[in-house]
Symmetry: none
Subunit: 236 residues, 4 copies
DNA sequence: AATGAATGAGCCTTCATTCAT
DNA sequence: CATGAATGAAGGCTCATTCAT
């Protein structure tokens, strides 16, 4: 009985174990360079067994991508709720979550890598990702921006048209880490803080471009008081 | 004589033609899935000829990456010049250039894709790209930001520590187009304008916390400094 | 169960079958010119199967040489026993054996051919053959010669320093047959008898060159000629 | 004029230079593994030039073998002259020559190696070698032996039927050096002296059974008692 | 005569896939 | 369900051969 239980449990877990192993190998080497022998070895089974659960290497890859992107898809529900409270607070919460997901979670990072790498072989993958993950997220962000504008919190800006601009630092940190490795990662909360700070305050002191660039080096430097306080004159 | 010239020119042009064809195939299919037969066919030669100029597929790939990233490397010189005039104007010029290069130029886009895809197989490639292209660019941006701060044009911000934040929308547009294709590209000058607008003005109207019509916890925090409070769960 | 036995036996027999087929092809064509396709075809399998048992063509060659030279290596034990009886009898027995092995056994002949042909590609092969086969044999022969000298059976001679001289006719017959084919083989027991006769009696009648070359054609010819015994009358 | 002379001389020497280079490469690597590129490089020309003089790699090999075996063929003339003086002296002279040729001359050695290695690919080569070199030599030796027997210098023996037996130590030294390298060569005049000594005197003291100190079956067989017993003092 | 760029057939090796057990 | 031996279609790379110059 116990054995049968083991067996059954085993049987139900097999596909997950295979997908798990496949993910590691696909992430390491890409689709073409991944050998089913290595996947099988990592899963502790033999090559033939993979074919009991997946009809081909391509199907295994698709299943792996689908399975591994499940958290990203599920997380979307939280974002689509009706916005409440300050728009900036919503963005803070959202990007903290996004950062944890797309930068610090190795799996999501690797999903991104594989999507980029295998688009021409699996065009549907990117399509689905856009339809089911990124697209909804962009729309949700757009709604938050509009919500902030409507409540007078945000000024009207291109962020309504391109919520991607808000999202960009997350993608930057993700691709940066994908490309240069964990040792050169941009993470740490300072990066996220900087991201949110720029979102909130913008790069420049005032609300409009400095009217006297011609002053050149003579341009009035803000005093010792670093920065966040502005000369009165610059304020309305 | 003219004929000999033809011959010689042929010989001199061959490597370039092969690299050109290789780039297309590598960009389309990735390193592993690219067949030298296809490269040869695209170059209008036969497979053996490739080996007259490149000792192996890997060398061809490396040569292709090197050759195709030459514009990016050469363009750096312009950026390292001593800054003059308004910092914002420098950024405008720079990002216009970057946008044209990393988003609208298909080749640079595909270089990025291959770097991301083949990092584990060619770790040196990413290292060199960081050392020779992205790293210098980040440093140059950092200098511009400092210059802007010193001349009182910019407020002190995390952009000094993470110039990547300024760069991020370019990467976003690049990866977006890589992943979803030209039909879903974010380009058009509106995106760049929005990027620059956000850079210049920030997302919000003023530098001071909005009087927060609804008050409450959602009110945007003043920039007084350290940042944003995050939900506990989102912190590493 | 019987079927499983078949399977298992198959698996166990495969390497031997492959080595067998490989030997024939390598012997026929040499290492470079041998196609694994031909080896596979001869073994009744496909090319890929070879790689289930041997990691490369070179390894297959080495395994083939090792396997095929096993009889030669094993036969050495008999030679290293302490000599008993007449030294000449020992030599007779030994060379009869060697002749059967190195001349009449096609496999050993072909091993010799391959050793000679592939020395520059597989230098270790010849080294091992010298250390494990020929070297010990030469030493064993040297012991027999010394034994013969010690018991007053043999005169002291260069054969102590160069037992190869005793061995040479075997090598001659081996290479002769390798080079000119079975149709021109030197074999038959007459050659071995002649070899042993020369060993025993030497080429000349007396202890010193005939003092009367002037006798010329008139020199007394031995009668019937064949055979080692001469008519009494022919002797002084 | 001088240039033209150079050119002409060059042109006439080219085939010889190519054959020279080809010999080194064929000897090193065998027919199949030899690259015409390497031959050309060694000859200081380019690959295409080889085809101006030899229609194919096979022809080049055949020409190389023919050219390199010329000394062996030419030397035969000396052997076919009518024998004069003592047969043993003829043999001495002959084997000294043969030894210098087949053992100490690297080229002849390598010719032997190639003949053995490539027989199945170039069957005619061995045939011609037998017909033009080895065969005549064997016949010449046979004549010398008969001459020695007729003049009473040699006893009748199997050497008449198998002159190869006399020749064998030369082949042994040749193949030994081919197989184990110059460092393990058997050469030095001691080997040749031993060879000639065995030829002349035989391995055993006398033609008559040794009084057999231990008697028994081990006693050396008696020849018919044909006075080959030597004065003790004449023996080393 | 000589070059050397180009060819293309061929071989070793790999690996996704199949199937008998 | 699981195995693993076997397959066979490719693909990277080599090299003898050709030919325009």
């Amino acid at each position: 009985m116990a054995v049968a239980g083991q067996r059954r449990r085993r049987k139900e877990e097999r596909p997950g174990e295979i997908v798990e192993a496949a993910f590691e190998e696909f992430a390491r080497s890409g689709f073409m360079a991944t050998k089913l022998d290595d996947v099988a070895a990592r899963a502790g089974i033999t090559k033939g067994t993979i074919y009991l659960y997946f009809p081909s290497k391509e199907d295994l890859f698709l299943a792996t991508m689908h399975e591994m992107s499940r958290p990203s898809r599920e997380h979307l529900a939280a974002l689509t709720a009706a916005p409440q409270g300050s728009a900036m607070a919503i963005l803070r919460t959202h990007f903290a979550f996004e950062y944890a997901q797309m930068v610090e979670d190795r799996r999501t990072r690797e999903i991104i890598r594989m999507l980029l790498a295998e688009v021409s072989r699996f065009p549907d993958l990117a399509d689905r990702w856009r339809a089911e993950v990124i697209g909804p997220e962009v729309e949700a962000l757009r709604r938050v921006v509009r919500y902030g504008v409507e409540r007078g919190e945000f000024r009207p800006s291109a962020a309504e048209q391109f919520p991607h601009l808000l999202f960009a630092p997350v993608i930057m940190a993700c691709t940066w880490r994908l490309m240069f490795g964990d040792d050169h990662a941009l993470d740490g909360s300072a990066y996220l803080d900087g991201h949110l700070d720029l979102l909130e305050r913008g790069l420049m002191f005032g609300s409009r471009p400095n009217p006297s660039p011609s002053a050149g080096e003579g341009a009035p430097r803000s005093g010792a008081g670093e920065g966040t306080t502005l000369p009165e004159g610059a304020r309305p």
